[in-house]
Amino acid sequence: MDYLENIESLAYFSPEILLVVFAAAVIILDLVVKNRESEKVAYLALVGLGCSLVAIIITHSALGTNESKNLFWGMIRLDGFAVFFKILLLLATAATILFSIRSEELDVRLKGEYYALLLAVTFGMFLMASATNLLMIFIALETVSLTSYILAGFLTHSPRSSEAAFKYITYGAVASGTMLFGLSLIFGMVGTGDLTTIGQQLPVVLASGEVTALGVLIAITFILAGIGYKIASVPFHMWSPDVYEGAPIPITAFLSVASKAAGFALFLRFFFSGFGNSEVMQSIDLGLLLAIVSALTMTIGNLAALPQQNVKRLLAYSSIAHGGYLLMGAVLLTNGDAAIVNKGIGAIIFYLIVYFFMNLGAFYVVVLIANEAGTEMIEGYRGLSSRAPLVAGAMAIFLFSLTGIPFLAGFFGKWVLFTAVIEGNLYWLAFVGLLNSVVSLYYYARIVKAMYLESAEDTESFSFSKGTFALLTVFVVPTLLIGLLNIFYSLSEKITLQ
């Protein structure tokens, strides 16, 4: 296996380096800016993200399409897949920062560290998206997790925030511990931490009977606990409603989009590279396992979302459900046909693009309403159509898109996913998924109902700044248009793992 050595790798690693540098700069600026003009700090962080984005693009173009480089002795890999996720994560972070600027919930005094932490977590996620070594995977995961714990518990005066952090870390620590144990078992089976080597060796040792299917199953299940908790799949999802509810709204948005996306990036790469061999998958029936997990995830997410009164919590369950949909694409990794595997990956990528816009958009509205109405409960949305018609309209678009109503992006996302799943002959799974989208309509529509069909006691209309609407437009327009343009489909099709 050819890989670049440390020094050679540095150039390709510049986006990550820039993130860390800017994180440090943010902290320093935070100390310098005496009068707590925290927005400056936020803008510096945004500049950092921008630089990193430029770096990503430069490194990518230096790399050339369909090329990949193994950096740092094979610790991480830079390829189109990683680049895509990096850009997605970067944008999610940028959005989160913009949300945070507008959120009145966050403690202004502590914002400097906050933005640094956001940059740091993005850094960790970058690594998650590109890690190809067990150790790297674990460290990246831990970086993201630890930072997320802190961010979730960031609200100074809120017991809910502390509780969220506490649950998050307890859960996360156990899950990552379990995962580490699973990783150690894998390490014991093949004697190396390199994913590609694992992918080559594991079938051999399994075929020769040196290790048993049970061992592999236990290892994978343990590992699944760690990754599954990141993407909030059943039964590792239980932290997420509580944490989402307790965490500051921008962080919730960030967790539900970026953290999930990074989790999926890791998931895909790990299973594709490490267990990409269908013999291994079949020996432990991984396909069925993932399919069941996927079906349960979306079902439980959707059902539990039904009675929720807190919009944030509702969206938390909804994002569990969406994780379930995404997992359907991941199930296709176990398919023997490489074309279908790539379809599955492409579907996940496309869905993530769509999900990025609609879910972040929805959370942004939640931020806005929390600012103005001071509540996260559905009651607070009553009569929104007359109090803030544009915001209500945008929210309706996001929610219906999340449901998967045609011509909105969410539908096309589901379309791509279900097509891939059915192509993999998993009719039942597609059916479960589709039934779930029907169920999901019910709770999304409850918010719409509150906004449009009910009237508020207080009819005073909300006023928002132009910037707010501009940011909202950034989410609305893609939600309306992504599905209608071919470019995103071809993009998602091009991004594959090797």
Binding site: F72, W73, T143, A165, G215
Partner: protein
């Protein structure tokens, strides 16, 4: 396997480790549990020595016993304002937890026993060179450089975060 002093000591360490770990999870007094944990950590360090992982053993003692355990004791002290450290365990929870743990143990033991690759790999007494230098090379020059740097970022984040969260007291 012949029964030598080495093996005797090994079994001793193993026993101490397991027994103390058992104490960690069973004793009612949290401070006692913390000390039992210390013994466990020492025990594990001893096992590392048996694995000829000298640097690792040292790290274990320094970081764990010297760092983490102290941290835990601090935590115990700072949260025991009411000195109410009695730990009540509900019976059902105990049973269910025991069941799950036992099931996991059984599964793991089955795997350990049934994996041919892991069988018959005994310590033949070969003495290796000390690992410290090699570890240094690996971490600072070779393939573990990146994890090392990332870990430093991680530690920085943890530092800031821990400070942030525990600083909350200082409200105005």
């Amino acid at each position: 396997m012949e029964f030598t002093l080495k093996t005797f000591i090994f079994y001793g360490f193993a026993l101490i480790t397991i027994a103390s770990a058992l104490a960690v999870v069973t004793v009612r007094n949290i401070v006692h549990a913390a000390f039992a944990l210390m013994v466990t950590l020492f025990g594990v360090a001893g096992l590392y020595v048996f694995l000829q992982a000298d640097f690792l053993a040292a790290t274990q003692v320094i970081v764990y016993v010297g760092g983490i355990l102290v941290l835990i004791l601090f935590g115990v002290m700072m949260t025991s304002g009411r000195l109410e450290m009695r730990i009540h365990i509900e019976r059902g929870q105990l049973l269910l937890g025991g069941g799950i743990s036992l099931a996991l143990l059984m599964l793991l033991l089955t795997v350990i026993a049934n994996t041919p690759k892991w069988e018959n790999l005994t310590d033949d007494g070969t003495a290796f060179e000390p690992t410290t230098k090699r570890i240094g090379e690996l971490i600072l020059n070779e393939k573990f450089l990146l994890p090392f740097e990332v870990a430093s970022v991680l530690l920085l984040v943890a530092l800031i975060g821990a400070a942030l969260i525990s600083r909350k007291e200082v409200r105005d």
